[in-house]
Symmetry: C3
Subunit: 347 residues, 3 copies
Amino acid sequence: MSDAPAYRLDELARRFELELRGHGDATIRGVSTLAAASPDRLAFLANPRYVGDLRDTRAGVVVLREEQASECPTAMLLAEDPYLAYAKIATLFERQAAAEPGVHPSAVVEAGARIAAGASIGAFCHVAGSAIVEDGAVIGPHCIVGDDCSVGAQSRMVARVTLVTRVRLGKRVLIHPGAVLGADGFGIANNHGRWLKVPQLGGVLVGDDCEIGANTTIDRGALEDTVLEEDVRLDNQIQIAHNVFIGAHTAMAGCSAIAGSARIGRHCLIGGSAGVLGHLEIADRVTITAMSLVSHSIREPGDYSSGTPLQDNRAWRKNAARFKHLDDMARRLAELEKRLARNKENP
Amino acid sequence: MSDAPAYRLDELARRFELELRGHGDATIRGVSTLAAASPDRLAFLANPRYVGDLRDTRAGVVVLREEQASECPTAMLLAEDPYLAYAKIATLFERQAAAEPGVHPSAVVEAGARIAAGASIGAFCHVAGSAIVEDGAVIGPHCIVGDDCSVGAQSRMVARVTLVTRVRLGKRVLIHPGAVLGADGFGIANNHGRWLKVPQLGGVLVGDDCEIGANTTIDRGALEDTVLEEDVRLDNQIQIAHNVFIGAHTAMAGCSAIAGSARIGRHCLIGGSAGVLGHLEIADRVTITAMSLVSHSIREPGDYSSGTPLQDNRAWRKNAARFKHLDDMARRLAELEKRLARNKENP
Amino acid sequence: MSDAPAYRLDELARRFELELRGHGDATIRGVSTLAAASPDRLAFLANPRYVGDLRDTRAGVVVLREEQASECPTAMLLAEDPYLAYAKIATLFERQAAAEPGVHPSAVVEAGARIAAGASIGAFCHVAGSAIVEDGAVIGPHCIVGDDCSVGAQSRMVARVTLVTRVRLGKRVLIHPGAVLGADGFGIANNHGRWLKVPQLGGVLVGDDCEIGANTTIDRGALEDTVLEEDVRLDNQIQIAHNVFIGAHTAMAGCSAIAGSARIGRHCLIGGSAGVLGHLEIADRVTITAMSLVSHSIREPGDYSSGTPLQDNRAWRKNAARFKHLDDMARRLAELEKRLARNKENP
């Protein structure tokens, strides 16, 4: 570990434009949690839940907001947004093996594929003859780049990613293992009781700087493309149906799902396991909380939810049973109000 | 694109038995949405949501119902079910590379495997010695055909599909990338606090003309088979547990899940992210709306739902908090009714 | 099938310490359901739902509780927990091809990888130079063992499993196809409207005897490890976010999801499609029913639920519409109570 990165505190303060309180000549060799940090580590406090850990930390330096400074027993770097400042600093300590340009001897690249000299194609990759891989792209082992697919410059498919048909990735796109982009949309027409498959003739368009999680699926469009604008961030096991449009800078948490032809705005946050029905529109800057179902279009920014709170099962059963008669309860309540109003008038 | 398909309007009308209104000699070279169509494209109107696009369309011809004919500014093909008619016509314009029969040199086929001469085995496939692949089957790159698995004639595994053990696919089955069929069912028995794995000795039986979406999982049975009858259509990321039975012509939307030994009828529609508990039965022609949980057997055809509607978070929080006391509210309401009834009797 | 396993009834009784009622010299050649069993098969009755099948069974012997003995028309083995006894017996009849030690010629093993002589590496596997595979481990076809990953003795990756980075598996871990362990956690910081990726520097630690289902994803930690203690059992399509901790002997059903840094106790049961929000704690021996959302920490053992019951859609719509005004209903109910109390005082 002799070549592990190391930075002086005053160097970090200068580089990230943060105010340092403490000795600038201490050396930081990595990042850590407040609870586990040793004196050569940098930690941060963003979530107030962890302020107890701050008081006891042995970290060499803590990134935090000024208002927590009095609680900090060690050197500190003051930041308006400690998590953001930490994220920038932590990249210094991330060691990622550089991929060697070239095609692994075990890969199958069909004649006609255009692969830039600076691109890297890993073991057991399969690249179709009509595919394009641009400069600096890194395609890890076991990936498939299918018909009419292209991978933009500096994009990275970590491993075992499948681009099926007509998928175009922008620059610096990051895709995690098991993701499948460009499979057939789920288009079926009922033909007197039997299903007839509807051809899926569109593609998938992924903007620059998008990230797509492990085992996430994004189907190609029926006629036009399924679209992710730039900087869309998708967690694991998300399902994006055909012809969905997701605006720039929207982030979706794990297991959320968007049905066909829905249109999601920019800067939205979609919670884990949330769902959006098809053919809806969601405005910019909308937040959907975890496990909510969006069943109508949302025109205004804000936070939206559905569902019921968690209870112990015995209490929940009683309440849930009453839910089945809620309309009846509402009618009876209105009836009582009416009778009491009458009583008042004619006591 | 000189060899792209092209059809005269009168030819399309004749072939699909639709009434043409307009000049029969116009040429159609593809399909499109109403909004994006150019004069050599065919479009369709099925969802009334898009009737505004109809009025402005530049399509060469539109497939629609007669009652919308007066709104259509261009040639039209009249259909009772425009989506179905479109689906049939669109297949003319789908170009799919024909797979060459034979085994890709990179594939590993173990001794004993029976592979029909007309079948195609793609790059990096692994076929077990006890496997059978029938004529015309197309197995794309990175697929695994495991022990005692068989792939019926004309079936297609697009890419990276895994058939683990004792999976038998019928004819013309289509499976999308990342799907896993025939993995162990989740059978565990509690042995004084530790889990003991229960052997999963059954298989998976998939009927003719089924379609299985990307990253969908279908576990093999514990004793008997997990069964999909013919023409079952599964979207992406669906979970089918061991010993589930799904009747013919049932379609399930993305992320839905069926627990062990549940029995789903024929011609059912299961909405996205819906769930069905284990050991239940659902009758034929049942529709479950998105994100509903089926917690008891359903004996009658019809539509079924659970959940609460989406609201802005502030309103939802207030209502959700009251849900925790719904049983208490119901009791208090009944109490008031009783008191008012007494008041009436003894005013 | 001449070499299929066969056991005399008295031998089974002795080996598994069960009381036999019936002739000990009958031969059992396999296991089956009560309904399908033939006279050379063993069946069991655990779920009272199937007691009807017991009366008509043709099984050679049935494993059941003493209180059902009078209903059983055939030989029986009495067990306090028939499912557990069955699970133990059934392993006798499971035939699993033994994997041959050694590295398949098609596999790519990078220089430096330490692979025990007794380990088996399947076709098309990719093993990084920093990886370790211990004795008796079986790595099926199409698996990836990435940087700084290790596979403990006797563990089995069935096929197409991806260990991305810093994943350490204990002994006898079983992982099903499509699972992805050690992908980047979903850590993003908002940088004036654009997302900045937060380095994910931790790993994944999986204890002995864990089982991980098909297409399940377990992200690596941001700073410290994501942890599964021993004997954790995960079904298919489960999502475990970064820095989650799952206590020993906990079992989770398909499609459930745990958000980042949540801490689940020991001996918990998490139902299908259930969700747990981030940074929460769940005590030992907690059961969460299917499709419930855990939105606050749970300090006491017990069963917990959220959601509403399934109804026919017409009734559900009416009740769901009222849910939007539940807070208003509660206020009006309280108001009526107040007025009636006043009336009583001042009639």
